[in-house]
Symmetry: C2
Subunit: 393 residues, 2 copies
């Protein structure tokens, strides 16, 4: 009598978590420093000191006020601060009423999909992709349409996206900088996509919303991350401080409904409604106020940049093929055999935990999360070489 779809979702093997749990057991067995765990994307850089200072400061205020409900889109002062921050950073005029504060990017995407799709619609994304996109599209009673990225650079295939658009297409989810590939989409590609979305939207007489999932916006290594709403008006930005402020477990982010959307007020209203429908009352209030005080705190990219340099240098030296990561803290490496799951299994023999690309909707690659200590990365070199050599026989 229970809901079988929900049961299947709950029972679905999560390869990332499986590998992570395997790693915990293995570390207990042979020692933490002997296992090279590239499985999970938990930020390894601590939250900046301003975060703790903000917590302590706010906790010193009147406790009734500190912990009380906010309106469902968030504390008005926090929404105003976020809008001002977006405006300043991008030379635009973001309005507080277009900001809806969420419990992280996950709820932001689920809510956005609820707001701008209807049952039976299709939602496009570029594969490989964060697997929950499919889950949330299905919650909105939509079908997720996967358009493969170009290989081996894992950029958008705009022609293929154009071909995938039809009269049921209501939205496309983009994620740049990308999880799992680390790719960043350049401005020219985004402009080509925008032109296609405008053209197809006009042909079909409908708005195709671009849902921009931006957890890694600030985590880039020199690459330009264009402000997408300035390129494509019908954009809804889903942001989280999970990675930029290293607060993944606190669940705090926002939806920004771009002011350039025709009828943006109605979209904001639908966002509020979708939040209600999914059981959200407001984002955690203490976190709302903490991030409002840390909007200008820069993400600490330097540590990830160092790890990236060490890892790419090692892999290049050994002979692996991989996508040079422009952003996020993931490296996308070609499997040494067509079956990435078999490759991931063999890697375990060398105490290397690599997530097979099948988890992200494509074959033949693995993801390495390099948000681990530089020491562990350096010490994994022999194992990575031995794994490589095991295929050269």
């Amino acid at each position: 009598m229970i809901n079988q779809h929900m049961h299947d979702l709950g029972a679905a093997p999560n390869k990332i978590r499986e590998l992570f749990m395997y790693g915990l057991g293995r570390k207990a067995e042979i020692g933490a420093d002997k296992v090279f765990d590239y499985s999970i994307g938990n930020p390894s850089v601590p939250a900046p000191p301003q975060v703790k200072a903000a917590f302590l400061d706010i906790l010193g205020e009147d406790p009734v006020k500190v912990h009380e409900y906010t309106p469902s889109p968030g504390d008005p002062a926090v929404r105003a601060a976020i809008a001002a921050h977006i405006s300043k950073a991008n030379g635009v005029d973001a309005r507080p009423q277009n900001i809806y504060i969420t419990s992280g990017a996950s709820s932001a995407i689920a809510i956005s999909l609820g707001a701008v799709t209807n049952p039976g619609d299709e939602v496009i994304t570029v594969s490989p992709y964060f697997p929950e996109y499919k889950t949330w599209a299905e919650t909105a009673q939509c079908t997720l349409v996967e358009v493969p990225a170009t290989e081996p650079d894992f950029q958008m295939d705009v022609d293929a996206i154009e071909a995938a658009i039809n009269e049921r297409t209501s939205a496309i989810i983009l994620n740049t900088p990308n999880n799992p590939t680390g790719a960043v989409y350049p401005r020219a590609a985004l402009e080509r996509l925008a032109a296609v979305l405008r053209k197809k939207g006009a042909e079909l007489g409908r708005t195709i919303f671009l849902i921009s999932d931006e957890p890694y916006r600030e985590l880039v290594y020199g690459a330009d991350v264009p402000y997408i709403p300035a390129i494509y008006a019908d954009t809804i930005v889903c942001y989280t401080w999970s990675k930029s402020l290293s607060l993944p477990g606190e669940r705090i982010g926002y939806i920004h409904v771009n002011e350039g959307i025709e009828g943006d007020d109605a979209v904001c209203t639908a966002v509020s409604g979708a939040g209600r429908a999914l059981g959200y009352i407001c984002a955690p209030v203490l976190l709302q106020r903490v991030v409002a005080r840390c909007l200008d705190v820069p993400a600490d990219v330097s540590e990830y940049a160092k790890k990236r340099e060490v890892l790419t240098g090692m892999l290049r030296g050994i002979g692996y093929e991989f996508v040079e990561p422009d952003g996020a803290f993931y490296l996308w490496m070609r499997s040494l055999e067509p079956d990435a799951e078999a490759f991931s299994e063999r890697a375990k023999q060398f105490e290397l935990l690599l997530v097979p690309s099948n988890s992200f909707g494509c074959t033949g690659w693995v993801r390495l999360s390099y948000c681990i200590s530089e020491k562990t990365i350096r010490e994994s070199e022999d194992a990575l070489r031995a794994l490589y050599e095991s295929y050269q026989a």
Copy 2:
């Protein structure tokens, strides 16, 4: 092209919030002490000092660990602590794996409905009721069936509930102590209900789940609040610390899938799946750890008890008819005309903000949230009397 249902939900007038916003404006106009705002259910008692102490203590730990993701059902140590607390308080053997930590009771109910219903099912509740039950039932593609409480005591009408059960009934949502009536259901009534649910379930060959919404469990004035899973095995408890620890904006609660449910493991799995589907990753991690350290901190009922005594004494003296509140911080008072909305409008002439019962699915009554200062309650006496007398002409 946006989702009209979500838009309508977002645009739906919320009478409670409307009154609250009206009150803010009116207070600015004539002075805060001249407006008697009984509209909203924000706890007026501060969080106990142990909450702040727990925050400070945890914030002193390793910041990478403090803010990192937990597994989606919650931190294993916190789940174990909650299970142990439930076990000790109720003389049962609750298992950590049956606890799923949520972003408050709202997400707990939305997730539970997702887990144990299927599209087209019916979910019963007793009216008047917290209006979001309807929203969340509809998200699960179910119909909410409202069974009126008995008047004027606003207890369950078990015969009417029995008559409402059919082959599509998958769950009943109960809320005791009740919002908006303050009623507490006695053990005998719960036992009668349990017998009916068992009998009808056997007849229909299906499990009828009891979803017990318990935000006000500890806020009672002498009344016994029975542990419902011990009375009806197929119970899922939805709890929040919003009211008991005065943390409404922080969003922290749990689902407890009773161990007595046949196939409880499958229900827990479906709960996990439904959480994923609705966009939840994990409950806010800092809050998980804070409440784990405050499980034995008693809710401060004494302040609410005092306010209740003052308010009921005044209303009785004037001549109003009301339900003696046994729990929560709401008082349910009969409107002095059949149209509660007109009564609420007239009350505004006396600077009294009373929520009409229409907001909760019934007519002819108003709700007074007495989680305001005792001084304000006392000072509202003249206005309450003048309102009463305005109907005696």
